[in-house]
Point group: C2
Chain length 597, copies 2
């Protein structure tokens, strides 16, 4: 059975060296995140994930969720008990507002914990993950009364939330939504329609489910400008907070999916269900996008999480599996064969994983810091900058980290040879679970279009300029230290490719938007390579500094520098290739007549 | 439910333009492969796969195989009936020797059919596929008596064969085999041991199963030099050809796998089973490698086959799915939205698939021709050349085509968005089925090591030189035609990268074998890009020629040239990046102490 160990030391390194948590101690919420508190959260949170969630991951995949004839859904054995422990320990309250019972810690801390949760049990982590998204939407656009009614129980995890966007004929293009909301004399609406792919749409983990549902009110424009958002609780909530009548919303079926079997992906039937408008009528999409942006970062975390746990298990196997001999001669002459970790090609797969995981962890936690700073930094300029940066990088974190997470999970499975293909080893689950992260919350193609079509030029390209300046600043900082050349030189070259690709897009995407579409995915990956490369430069600098200062854990910093070297040697070369693909334009792919496909 | 249409026109184009089947009409077996016969085989074979095998592919995945308490195994509904039709139509006899009841057609024709079979139902195709491999081993090293005893029924498909190599502790490193063969006074051996991952090891499709088993005879060296090959029939075969006693070999369990659920992957327990030595004692590995080399080409076909069927279904979905608008303005203003095939990023995924599929089909059939020529060409020089070429390219076809096949299957699934993740659409099966092809018959890492460590320098690099000369020759041929520059120029550059990488390996792999290991996979992929690029140059030239000659099907040739253009723009750029990764050497991946992982 696969195992998991939370990479607490690496998280702490990132929080120190990249995020620089101590620099923000003066800001609201950060004040409570003292080094001791953070250490305790990571260690205890890590233990919870290792000891409670990881052991029911494979069994949850095999058993899956069960829908009963009455529409109720049972989660796999052990999930309900684990969820109770999750609630009891308050793991869902980390980032929530103390006004509603949360611990009010920075987003960056909650994000660090969420990586551990997804690595240990991605399907489990989605229940609280969706709940957080729903809370964010209620926070953002709900009335005070609505917040007071729903948030306290949601924060405690006694109720969970869902997001209901997709319909059978309508995914990305939400203007096509057919679900109707008919206003009632008492101010409520009757919601009627079918939603699909509703993660955590029905389950037995707790008492109530608060569905957030996109629908069109009677007479609203039949396009994206006519979409409103509704709260539709599974059980109506009485004024005293107790649960009332069962609402007319039911799970019609659960999907048979490639992975995340332990999370119920439901078809939800709304049959004149009572709904409460949240936020302004016809402005539902805006609220949904608030929720979606946070969710996209969370999906990026899942990409990293799958890369990490798959890597860890591949390392264990590569050390244990005795087979063949090192090319340079027997590593263990007394034994009949060497462990396969002696092989450069096996290490290639492991180091690909490690270099991605550590780089992505840094990027994601740095990104999560921007989410905090966008709300809490001292000056409007700082808040603006942080918001610009995370706006730009959200599609990169979601798209690049999930594409790579799948790739790393696949490569880690490959280390196992035939055993990787067998369920008991758990590696195929990581691949299957990782796969969804490239698809949901906007496919990675949609992320790429968002990056190139919206984010790049947003506010006159302010965020893009700020980001390029940031990386250039890091390069300028590194100039004094020859030891950093191994990473700063290829980063500078890759940044040059990114800048050239940006110029190319600005020039050629205007005249023909298909050029932007044709290059979007290549551009997203190119920016991903630069973004992780930037993190590696920062981390290498910090590792040298720690060694210079005589840090005791020299093994950790030495390994960090070796991994930085691997990233530099093996990741940067793709930047030039991606630029070349982008600059090839759209002609070759648009020339084919539809009928000729 | 997914659908499949055999790409008969494209196969015929390749047989004409790349393979040049008519040039070999003077050779044995080719004489019978007249254009009419070939056309009939492809069309009828295609229909069989479309109408009989494709409809039971998804249901076979869902149902899987069932092992009963007595060790017997039932295949999914419809498989036995389909196999009966397969036998009745003689699809298994295409390439077999007429002496044993085969049709004696060229390997290249059988290979073309096997693509269709794998696309329509990969798990089904493995039953006859394994049978063919076992026949090849018996052909190669069996006595005349053994051939006469087993081959006729195997050719007809009344019996199938298996390959038993792997043991729980022993995959690539066959020296570790523990299965024992104890000589008996009657000349037979008693075989005792456990084999795992035995595809088609037990099933209910026909009357008997002929296991080919690697084992060590009593007193043999306990390493690769002590391995012998044995025939171990499920039912012993009497002298009159009738079936005798049930042998002491049993399926102990079937594996729960990520995919190919409809093929029984068995743990086989040999409990003093009667075995017959085939070939020389202690020379079993050589026989196994004969079988393995053919099998590796067959696995490359599976990579292509999964890429093709996944691509076809993604095209259908991209044309049908109405969602959003073209970036250049509504393509269908009367409708509420456009089909997603209007998007350049969707076409990127489709064209990636198409450019790979058509290129790989050409490479594989050209490779299959070399298998034919290695045995049947008129002169020893021609036979030698063909053997050198296919020796070199077998790991490329296996490794590159299966890596890309998985990637294309994944990208095609991505076109479906969330629906791609749901079982009913069948896309996740293609991904899961494609995954095994990267693993079995030697993982792709092993293929890369075989290429770099053995094939590259074999016979003083004779095959490598011949291959480079071949591609250079095609480039020289193209020099006269400016219209081919779009593909010949980047091919020339990529070939330069391949040559430089080859030189680098020769220089640096000698001094430190880890440099060869570290660059092996990059080298294999680089050669794959060149090999498909070479095919695209040949195909583009043929397409221009056909258009020049006023061929009637201008749409086909125009599409071929558009796809060639896509390949040139989007595949070649990776060549330089792969070379850079290879030239980075092994330092960054070998530097990490094992304990630091």
């Amino acid at each position: 059975m696969p195992a998991y160990r939370a990479p607490v030391q690496d998280t702490q390194f990132v929080l120190d060296a990249v995020v620089g948590l101590d620099r923000y101690a003066n800001l609201p919420t950060f004040a409570d995140a003292s080094p001791d508190v953070v250490k305790a959260i990571l260690e205890e949170g890590g233990k919870f994930c290792e000891q409670v969630l990881a052991p029911i991951n494979l069994s949850g995949d095999i058993e899956g969720c069960t829908r009963h004839d009455d529409g109720s859904v049972t989660t796999p054995a052990g999930f309900k008990a684990a969820y109770q422990q999750f609630m009891d320990a308050g793991w869902g309250t980390l980032m929530a507002d103390p006004e509603w019972g949360g611990q009010g810690l920075p987003y960056v801390i909650g994000t660090a914990f969420s990586e551990y949760m997804s690595s240990s049990n991605m399907a489990f982590g989605m229940y609280p993950g969706l709940n957080e998204g729903a809370q964010a939407a209620i926070e953002a656009v709900g009335s005070h009364e609505q917040k007071a009614k729903y948030l306290p129980n949601m924060v405690q995890g006694r109720w969970t939330g869902t997001m209901n966007l997709t319909e059978p004929h309508c995914g990305t293009d939400l203007g096509l939504i057919r679900t109707r909301a008919e206003p009632q004399p008492d101010g409520t609406h009757r919601i009627t329609g079918t939603k699909i792919f509703i993660s955590a749409g029905e389950h037995d983990l707790n008492d109530n489910i608060i569905h957030l549902v996109l629908a069109k009110t009677t007479g609203a424009p039949d396009n994206v400008k006519g979409i409103s958002l509704f709260i539709v609780p599974k059980f109506l909530v009485n004024d005293d907070g107790s649960l009332g009548a069962r609402n007319a919303v039911k799970c019609g079926s659960i999907e048979h999916k490639m992975g995340i079997h332990a999370n119920a992906t439901c078809v939800m039937n709304y049959d004149g269900a009572t709904g409460y408008l949240i936020g302004e009528e016809n402005k539902g999409l805006r609220a949904m996008f608030i929720m979606m942006n946070a969710a996209r970062l969370g999906v990026g975390v899942q990409g990293l999480a799958m890369g990490e746990v798959a890597y860890q298990n591949a390392v264990t196997y590569a050390k244990d599996r005795i087979q063949g001999r090192a090319l340079t001669g027997p590593a263990d002459p007394a034994a009949k064969a060497d462990p396969i970790i002696v092989h450069a090609d096996v290490r290639r797969m492991l180091m690909d994983g490690r270099a991605f995981n550590e780089g992505a962890r840094a990027l994601i936690l740095w990104g999560a810091l921007q989410v905090d700073l966008a709300k809490k930094a001292a000056t409007p300029e700082e808040r603006q900058l942080a918001d610009d940066l995370i706006s730009l990088l959200t599609p990169v974190i979601k798209g690049y980290c999930t594409d790579k997470g799948y790739e790393i999970a696949t490569a880690s499975q490959q280390v196992f040879g035939g055993h990787g293909y067998i369920r008991e080893w758990g590696m195929d689950q990581f691949v299957r679970d990782a796969r969804i992260a490239q698809i949901y919350e906007g496919t990675n193609g949609i992320q790429a279009m968002d990056l190139v079509g919206r984010k790049l030029g947003q506010n006159g390209g302010r965020g893009t300029q700020a980001y390029l300046a940031l990386v250039n600043g890091a390069l300028a900082d590194a100039k004094g230290d020859e030891r950093l050349n191994f990473v700063s030189a290829p980063l500078e070259k890759a940044l040059g490719d990114l800048q050239a690709a940006t110029m190319w897009l600005l020039q050629n995407g205007m005249t023909n938007p298909d050029n932007a579409g044709a290059g979007a995915t290549a551009y997203l990956h190119l920016m991903g390579i630069v973004a992780l490369g930037h993190m590696w430069l920062v981390m290498a600098k910090a590792a040298f500094a720690a060694l210079d200062e005589g840090a005791s854990d020299t093994d950790f910093y030495t390994a960090k520098l070796i991994t930085a070297r691997y990233y530099a040697a093996r990741y940067f070369p793709d930047a030039r290739a991606l630029r070349a693909k982008l600059e090839a334009g759209s002609e070759a792919m648009m020339a084919m007549p539809v009928a000729a496909f």
